[in-house]
Structures are given as structure tokens and as C-alpha cells.
């Protein structure tokens, strides 16, 4: 337990030090992007890993929160009011989407989230008067939370890190809470859970709302980072990328999606510099991961670690 604490502290310190160690603005920005996608993937994993619900529309919360924030700011609301209302709006849409998607389970759920995500994309793409279509919308300027400017690469990174840390802490508490246990129970044995007195539908719906809330927070970070939102950010491909992050890293662990987000974001950025065919590679990674490592990296590494540790423990015991 103490060793875990020390490890956590070290990781935290290292993360805080990132902009001090790598001074290149490009890489600090890349680190901010990773944090945003990691938050998105972790929020999706509440559904995927803990709830057993595969959503292919999670990027729509990035869009809903971002577009709402831009439109509210342009309508004259302040930064704080825009942020709060945008997240409320996006989470409320999540509540509605959850109502619809949970009319089905399994593959039906996946299809409905996909269709809903595409409809959000279609509206962003087609509703020119509101969203400026394919050209997207600009967000005027980053906010100054508590009067602190977050316009530079490193200050924005720290801002994202704080939001990410708070979110991760909340989500971690959820996964360890009675509700988290019920959610995992509902994933494994929904019928049995009902017979134990649990309202499986409500559990899953609340998980959907929670996931859309944190997805919307990631969406707000996205629009602060890019100062721009276009339909591209909410395409099916984006939803699929986030899903891939969670699966690649390992949906059964809280840290899995974070590892997945680091890998996918790095590969995407590195590959895009040298090689135009990111989409083919994304598709190929998808196929390979699902065929050959369906449980992801983190659980796989954990298993190896346990196997490596087991003989040592025996030695010590002897």
C-alpha cells in the first residue's frame, strides 16, 4: 500500500514536471492532447469496462459541449456561465441518448449510439446557420480561471492536468463505490442483479449520464485547447479512436484507457508526420488488437508481472 502511494506520488511529480523537462512547445501541446483524450477514454470506459456497454458515439459529447460553449460565448454569456451551461446541456443530451440507447442491449446499444453519434455529426455538418458547417466555429479565447492565464502551452497543460486529476479521482471513487460494484454486477449478471433488488436499467442509465458528463468536460478542454470546433472532431472515426484507446490499453483497468490514449495519440501524431495513411493504420490496429489482444495492454502486463512476482514471493517465504 505504501509503495503504491510512493509510486503515485512519483508519477504525479513527473507529470507536473513535464513542461519543465521538455521545453518544446510542440511536445507540451502533445501532452495536453493526451490528457484530453485520456479523460475522454476514461469516461467512455465507465460504460465499456465497468458497465459492459460498447458505445460508438462518445465523441458526440465533445461536439455537444464544444458547440454549446462556442454558441453560448458568442451569445454574450461569460466564460464560466458558458462552460457550466455547455456541460449541463451536453450531459442532458447524454441523459436523453441513454434513454434511447438503453432500449436495447449489446449490439443494439452499440448501433443506437452509433446512429445518435452520426446524427449529432450530421447536424453539426449540415446545420450551416448554427454551426457554420464544415468550416467549423472559433472559440474566442481561453478562459482565465481564478484570474490565471492559461494561454501558454505549459500553463494550459497544467490546467488540463488539474482537471484530469480531479476527474480521475472522481471516477476512481465511483469504481470503488457501492454504485461501481452494482454497475459491474449489472454488466456480468443483469438478470441476477434484478433478482437481488437492483434496478439494472437505472444503474446503467446513471453510468451513461456520468460518462457523458466527464466526456463533456473533456469536450470543453478540447475546445479550450484548439479554440476551434468542427464536425471533424465528432466523426465516427473519432468515437472509434476513443473506443480503441480503451480497448487497446485494457478496459478492465482504470489505467488501461490512459495507456491507450498515450499510445494512440503518440502514434497518430508521429505517423501523421511521415505517413499519410493514418486511417488505414487505425483500422489495422483495430483489427489486430481485437483479434490478438482483446484484453488490452495493462491487464496483459499485470498478468506477466504477477507471474514474474509469484516465484519471488515463494523464495521469500522459504
Amino acid at each position: 500500500m505504501r509503495r503504491k502511494g510512493v509510486l503515485l506520488f512519483a508519477i504525479g511529480m513527473a507529470l507536473i514536471a513535464v513542461p519543465l523537462i521538455i521545453t518544446s512547445e510542440f511536445y507540451v501541446n502533445l501532452a495536453s492532447q493526451i490528457l484530453i483524450y485520456a479523460l475522454l477514454a476514461v469516461s467512455l470506459n465507465l460504460l465499456l469496462g465497468y458497465g459492459g456497454m460498447v458505445s460508438l458515439g462518445h465523441a458526440s459529447f465533445v461536439g455537444l459541449a464544444s458547440y454549446a460553449a462556442v454558441l453560448l460565448l458568442n451569445a454574450g454569456f461569460g466564460q464560466l456561465a458558458s462552460a457550466v451551461l455547455a456541460i449541463l446541456f451536453s450531459t442532458a443530451c447524454g441523459g436523453l441518448f441513454g434513454l434511447l440507447a438503453l432500449r436495447a442491449s449489446g449490439i443494439g446499444f452499440l448501433m443506437i449510439t452509433l446512429a445518435l453519434g452520426q446524427i449529432v455529426w450530421g447536424i453539426a455538418y449540415r446545420a450551416n446557420t448554427l454551426t457554420n458547417g464544415d468550416n467549423g466555429l472559433r472559440y474566442a479565447a481561453r478562459p482565465h480561471p481564478f484570474g490565471i492565464a492559461i494561454d501558454s502551452a505549459s500553463s494550459f497543460y497544467w490546467f488540463s492536468l488539474i482537471v484530469f486529476a480531479i476527474a480521475l479521482f472522481f471516477i476512481w471513487r465511483v469504481t470503488r463505490s457501492p454504485f461501481g460494484a452494482s454497475l459491474q454486477g449489472a454488466r456480468d449478471q443483469p438478470r441476477r442483479m434484478r433478482m437481488l433488488g437492483h434496478n439494472v436499467w437505472l444503474i446503467q442509465w446513471l453510468a451513461f449520464v456520468l460518462a457523458s458528463f466527464w466526456g463533456s468536460v473533456a469536450g470543453l478542454l478540447y475546445v479550450y485547447y484548439n479554440l476551434f470546433i468542427s464536425p471533424h472532431a465528432i466523426s465516427l472515426q473519432q468515437s472509434a479512436e476513443v473506443l480503441l484507446m480503451a480497448i487497446l490499453g485494457g478496459a478492465s483497468a482504470l489505467t488501461g484507457p490512459i495507456v491507450g490514449a498515450v499510445i494512440i495519440t503518440l502514434v497518430k501524431n508521429v505517423v501523421s508526420t511521415y505517413f499519410e495513411r493514418w486511417n488505414s493504420l487505425l483500422g489495422a490496429i483495430f483489427v489486430v488488437v481485437i483479434m490478438f489482444m482483446p484484453f488490452g495492454i495493462v491487464p496483459g502486463v499485470r498478468q506477466l508481472w504477477a507471474r514474474w512476482r509469484a516465484p519471488k514471493k515463494l523464495e521469500r517465504a522459504a
Binding site: V174, S177, P178, F179, S182, R192, R194, M195, L196, H198
Partner: protein, 246 residues
């Protein structure tokens, strides 16, 4: 006196095939009722209709006078209904203790808590260990389900149901597939259930559960054929016909 469980004219068809036909039964509070019948008699279907896993085509199911059919399964459980399954539906990767905790959570308002640590809720874990001890699994509380034997899992099913302190307990073939020794363990557990709990038990094999029953209902092809006290049902020629005839 209001019956603990009252089923009236329950009908259910699968496609064209009737699974239960005009089934009626009335179980008084504290009674131990045995439902017997050959395979395919509609025993488990009857349980599924009572718990809400299936919706009947017609009829009524009342728990202490309250109609259940409009209620979803989980609300029926909150009214005091509990059951075990014939085909085990447990959480195999979790410890026995966690399985029982999930059962306790189902009736605890705390189940909606997203913030506190479940592992810190010692009252739930103490109650879970108590329920496990009741079925003789006290020493195995921290093993995972995957590491236990079939007989232990059957007893875990019982512990989960008993932990909920139900008013009416439905047991679906709790003795099936158990060794002689395990059977007597389960029978001991049943004997220790407080008398204010009403028990309805399905058994395929009549002999193994006979001692337990006060009243017996015989189902055949979805219909109630005979009902009465133990000696009445055993003596009835139709019982012999169903069990020896084919």
C-alpha cells in the same frame, strides 16, 4: 389470514406451447411448500412468472395480498421475495463475500452511493460473513467463486437469498447435483431458517425433499394435478401415475 404467496389461474404459453395452465396455489405465512413434478412440468417457469423474469399471459400473483404482476423484478424483491436459481448465476471472479454483499446492497439505499468505498462498509461485510457462516461457508468467505465446488456454490446461492432476510423464499432445486453429504448440509441450513420465512421449494426428485415439505403441489404438463399434505400427495394414485407411469 392473507396467504404469503397466492397464485391464481396463471397462464403462460411459449409460441403455441403452454408452459403453465391455470396454475393456482396459495402458500400460508411460514409454510414449507414443496413443488414437485417431472422435467418440463413448468416448475421453473412458475418461479420465473412469480419473480417477473417472465410475464404471464393471464392470471395473478400476490405477495401478502399485494399484486405483483405490474411490478418489475427488483421491486418484488424489495417487497420480500428472494430466490435461488437452478442454473447458477453467480459472479465467478468475485469472492463469496462480495457475492453476498451484492445481495445485501440490492436492498440497501447505499447502492446508489458513488463516493464512499464499498470495502470500507464493514456492516455489509459483517452481515455477509454472518450469512456465509449460516450456510457453513464462513471459512471460505474470501475465496473466489471460481475456486469453489459445485456444492459450495449452491450454498452460496442460499446465503445470498437468506442474507436479504426475505419473507418468501423460492428455492429452485437446491439439492440437485449434490453429494449425499452436501445434501444433508443444505437440509441443515433449511432447518435453521426462521419459521416466519415462507419457503417454496422446487424439487425434481421427490424422495430427497420429502422430509422438508409440509404441503406438496404436484405439477404435470403445466397443470396442478394434486395438492395436499405430504401423506395425501404420496398416497394419491395420480402421483404414482405421474412418477411411475412414464
Amino acid at each position: 389470514m392473507t396467504p404469503a404467496l397466492e397464485v391464481v389461474n396463471l397462464n403462460k404459453r411459449f409460441g403455441g406451447l403452454p408452459a403453465t395452465r391455470q396454475v393456482s396455489l396459495s402458500v400460508m405465512p411460514g409454510e414449507r411448500r414443496l413443488i414437485i413434478g417431472p422435467n418440463g412440468a413448468g416448475k421453473t417457469t412458475l418461479f420465473n412468472l412469480i419473480t417477473g423474469d417472465l410475464t404471464p399471459d393471464a392470471g395473478s400473483v400476490k405477495l401478502f395480498g399485494q399484486e405483483l404482476l405490474k411490478l418489475p423484478t427488483q421491486q418484488r424483491v424489495h417487497l420480500g421475495l428472494a430466490r435461488t436459481y437452478q442454473i447458477l448465476t453467480l459472479f465467478p471472479k468475485e469472492t463469496l463475500c462480495h457475492n453476498v454483499v451484492l445481495a445485501l446492497l440490492g436492498l440497501d439505499r447505499m447502492r446508489w452511493d458513488v463516493w464512499t468505498f464499498l470495502l470500507g462498509q464493514s456492516h455489509l461485510y459483517d452481515a455477509a460473513r454472518e450469512a456465509l457462516a449460516l450456510v457453513g461457508l464462513g471459512a471460505s468467505a474470501d475465496r473466489t467463486v471460481a475456486e469453489t465446488s459445485y456444492g459450495e456454490r449452491r450454498r452460496l446461492e442460499m446465503a445470498m437469498a437468506l442474507a436479504q432476510k426475505p419473507k418468501v423464499l423460492l428455492l429452485d432445486e437446491p439439492l440437485a447435483g449434490l453429494s449425499q453429504e452436501e445434501r444433508s448440509q443444505v437440509r441443515d441450513v433449511l432447518a435453521r431458517v426462521p419459521r416466519d420465512v415462507t419457503i417454496v421449494m422446487i424439487e425434481h426428485d421427490m424422495d430427497s425433499a420429502l422430509a422438508f415439505a409440509e404441503r406438496i403441489t404436484l405439477l404435470h404438463y403445466g397443470e396442478v394435478i394434486v395438492e395436499g399434505t405430504r401423506s395425501q400427495v404420496v398416497a394419491d394414485p395420480r402421483t404414482k401415475e405421474v412418477y411411475l407411469g412414464d
